[in-house]
Amino acid sequence: MKGMTVIVKTVTRWVKVFIFLFGAYIVITGHLGPGGGFAGGVIIACSYILLTLAFGKEFALQRLKVGAAHGLDSAGGLIFLLIALFGLGFGGTFFANFLQSRYPGLEFHLLSSGTIPLSNIAVGLKVASSLFLVFIIFSVLRIVVARDGSRSMVQEEEEE
């Protein structure tokens, strides 16, 4: 996978930042407008998938390594679980919105609704890194059809 033509590469260089920013915007303002962690995470993953398709697998993996993506994936899940456990500790029940009951922000403002924006960011981090990993798995694995018609998944040969 060596990447695509110069036209695609140039357009990608301009567009990737805007896709990433749009995803981040949808994650951060998930409690104010339509969107949220899942949708924004998918859009952020889209920007990395575009990078992988346009510049090749090696280029994208230099920017975000598989280990780092896996770490972000785990971190997102752990943050979400920690928010739930803090709710158990400070608010009395699992997933209690303890920040909203203590510091109720101004409604319809960015800093409002307690733990919901934090959960959105955690879910967005998790979904973005997960989908990026799914795409890497898809582009690394390849289905090989043997002569007798049986199919098997093998790893693509790495160039050394």
Partner: protein, 186 residues
Amino acid sequence: MVVEIYLLILLVFMIAGALIAVETKNLLSSVISLGAIGFGMSIAFLFLRAPDLAIVQIAVEVVLLVFLIRATIGRDVIPAHGHINWAGLAVVLVLMAGLVFFGVRAFGSLGVFGEPVIASIAEAPSNAYLAGGLEQTGSANIVTSVLLDYRAYDTLGEATVLFASILGALAVLRGRSWAKKRGKEQ
């Protein structure tokens, strides 16, 4: 009333896309018509005033299309041919007729289009969420307040499913590459 006509047009478009996706011989055109169904679904969600679902649908559809085109492009398809199994076809037709019959009965028991079921049940929890969602959670988006506050357990389960599937796929991959390295060393 206008919305219903738009939705009917979209439904016909989506059913046509599904039939093309099933019947076409070319795998790539099948995947593309699958994408057309997804985008039609996203517009249908917009007409039904569900922008959250529309955004999720369109983003997931784009990623899914990229995955499927990447996975199917340049692959050989072995076309299925042979005689028609009439007994199997009859069973399928009977099952589909039963499904349509009970589906029509089920939709007949619902209310008028555009009037939610919760409007007729006073003690439904959704009414409490709609009435007190802004004061209780402070979130302007009622969908997010349900997803991440009232029903956060479901979101945690969804995150766990995603995590476990990625972990399993990576474990399978890594096992293969380790075995290959070990084979090279020996």
